[in-house]
Amino acid sequence: MQKPTWKSTLKGYLYLLPALLILVVFSIYPIIKSFLMSFYTDYDFFSDTVNAYGLENFTKLFQDPNFITALKNTGIFVIGVVPLSIIISLAIAVLLNSKIKLSGFFRTIYFLPFVTSVVAVAIVWSWIFHSDYGLLNYILGLFGVDPIDWLTSPTYAMPALIILSIWKGLGFNIIIFLAGLQNIGNQYYLAAKVDGASAWNRFKSITLPLLSPTMFFVSIISIINAFKVFDEIFALFNGRPGPANSALTVVYYVYQKFYEEWEFGLATAAAFVLFLIIFLFTIIQLIVGKKFVHYN
C-alpha cells in the first residue's frame, strides 16, 4: 500500500464518514457523556442543564439497599448461570463432535433459542413456570415434587430466571466450543490411543488443556453477558424485577432509576459501576488470554 498523502487521507475519511458520524454520536460521545453524567448531582433533563457536580451519586448508590440487592442478585445470577451453562454446553459439544450422523441436525436444534426474541421466549417460559397449570410443575409432579411457585416466591424467582437463561444461551456456547474442538488435531488422540489412554484420560489430558483458550473466552463472554441481564427479567415477571426485588439486577436497577424515577445521575453512576465490573473482566481476558496463546 502507498504511503498516506493528504489526498488519500481525504478519501479515507470520506469513506469512513457515514460510519464515523453514527459511531461518534451514538457510541463514543455517550461514553464520555455517561462518565460525566455520573457526576451530575443536580440535573434538569428537560432543559439539559446541570446545576451541580459531585461524587454524591456514588455515595448514594452504595448506601441504597436496592443497589446492594441488585449487585448481590447479579452476582448470584452470574454464579448460577455461567458454570452450569459451560459444563452442559461443553458436554453437548463433545458429543456432537464424536463423528455421528445427524450432528448438524442436533446442532440446529440446540441453537434455535439463540435466534428467538428473549421477550417472546420469556413469556413462553412464564407459562411453563405457571404454579397451577404450568408444564414444569406437572412434570415435577410426576416425580412426586410438590408444585413450586416459580414466579411468585422470592426463593424460586432466581432459579427460574437461571433456567431460562441457560436454555437460551446454550446454543452460542456450543457453537464456540465446537469450533474450538475442531481445531484440535487428531494426531494427539491417535498418539494417546497407542499409549492405551482411556477416553476419560484423553478428555482430561488432551481435550481440556487444548480447549482452554476457548473455554476461557466462553467464560468471559458468558460472565459479561450475565452481568447485563435485563430483557429476560422484564418479560418473565411482567415488567417487575421479580417478587420482593428477588430478580432485581444492576441493569434493571439502571432502568428503574432512569426510566421510572428519572434519576439520571444515579442511573448513570450505576451503569458506570457495571462498566467497571465488565471492564475488569475484559482486562483479565486480555492479560490471561495472552498467556494461553502458546497452547496452540
Binding site: T9, Y29, P30, I31, L95, F111, L112, S117, I123, V254
Partner: protein, 274 residues
C-alpha cells in the same frame, strides 16, 4: 477405530434427550396457541388440541395492533440492516485498502469502544435522541443502529483476503475506487455480507430495551415491545399470548432454518477473536 467411552447409541439417546428439552418450550407454545380455552388449563396437559383453533391467531392480532407492530418491526429491521451494510462496506474498504493519516488511532479508538457495554450508552443516547426530537419516531429506532464496529472488523478481515493485484488490475483498466469497491469487492465479500446482514436482522427483530424506552405510543412499538405490553392486556388468556409469541418467534426460526450456515459461521467467528 478409537475405542469410545460411550457407545453410539448412548450418544444418540443423550443428544435426543437434550434436543427434546430444547424443543419442548417451542412445542408447548405452538400447542397452547392452537387450543380452545378449556383445554389450555387441562390437567394432565393436552399435547395435541382436540380441535385446532387457528382462530386464536386472528383473535390475538385483533385484540392488539399486531399488524402495526409487525410493520414497524419490518421497517426498522430492513432499514437498520441496509444502513449498516452501507456504512460497513465503506468503512471496511477505507480500513483495508486506503492508507490515511490517523488510521491507526481511529482504528484503536473504535476497537476500544467495543469493550463498553451498550447498557452504559443507553441514558446519554436517550438524551441525544430526545434533543434531536426523535423520541417516538422511526429515526430514533433506526439511526443509532446503522453502524457497527464488530461488522466493520469482520468485513475488513474479509477484504484483506482479496488479492491486492485485483485492485491494481482494475486501476490499470481505469476503474475508480468506488466502482472497484462496488463491482469487485462487494460481490466477492458476499458470504461475509450475508453473515453480517443475518446477525443484524436477528438482533434488530429481537431488540427490546432501546425500542421500549424510545417509543411511547402504540403506533411506533415494535413486536417485542408490543408483545410485552400484550401480556398485561391479554391477562390469563394463555392461548392468545402463545399465538402472539409464535408470531414473533416464527419469522426468525424460518430465516434461521434457511440460512443457518451463515448464522453459525458468523457466531463461530465471533468466538475466534478470543
Amino acid at each position: 477405530m478409537r475405542k469410545e467411552a460411550l457407545s453410539k447409541g448412548t450418544i444418540y439417546i443423550l443428544l435426543s434427550l437434550g434436543a427434546i428439552l430444547m424443543l419442548l418450550p417451542f412445542v408447548w407454545m405452538i400447542s397452547t396457541s392452537l387450543k380452545a380455552p378449556n383445554e389450555v388449563m387441562a390437567m394432565p396437559p393436552v399435547w395435541i388440541p382436540s380441535e385446532w383453533q387457528f382462530g386464536n391467531y386472528s383473535e390475538a392480532s385483533e385484540s392488539a395492533p399486531f399488524g402495526t407492530y409487525f410493520f414497524n418491526s419490518i421497517v426498522v429491521t430492513v432499514l437498520t440492516t441496509i444502513g449498516e451494510l452501507l456504512t460497513t462496506i465503506l468503512a471496511a474498504y477505507a480500513f483495508s485498502r486506503i492508507n490515511f493519516y490517523g488510521k491507526g488511532i481511529v482504528f484503536a479508538v473504535l476497537l476500544g469502544t467495543m469493550m463498553v457495554p451498550g447498557e452504559m450508552l443507553l441514558i446519554p443516547n436517550f438524551v441525544t435522541v430526545s434533543n434531536l426530537g426523535w423520541i417516538d419516531s422511526y429515526e430514533g429506532l433506526i439511526v443509532p443502529w446503522i453502524a457497527s464496529i464488530f461488522s466493520i472488523f469482520l468485513l475488513r478481515q474479509y477484504f484483506f483476503s482479496v488479492p491486492q493485484e485485483l485492485s491494481y488490475a482494475a486501476k490499470v483498466d481505469g476503474c475508480s475506487d468506488f466502482k472497484f469497491l462496488w463491482y469487485v469487492m462487494v460481490p466477492l465479500a458476499k458470504p461475509a455480507l450475508i453473515t453480517i446482514a443475518l446477525l443484524k436482522i436477528i438482533g434488530s427483530w429481537n431488540a427490546f430495551l432501546w425500542p421500549l424506552i424510545v417509543t411511547n405510543s402504540q403506533e411506533l412499538r415494535t413486536l417485542p415491545v408490543g408483545l410485552s405490553a400484550f401480556t398485561t392486556e391479554a391477562g390469563i388468556k394463555y392461548e392468545l399470548l402463545m399465538a402472539a409469541s409464535t408470531m414473533v418467534i416464527l419469522p426468525m426460526l424460518l430465516l434461521f432454518f434457511v440460512m443457518q450456515k451463515y448464522v453459525i459461521s458468523g457466531v463461530a467467528r465471533s468466538g475466534l477473536k478470543g
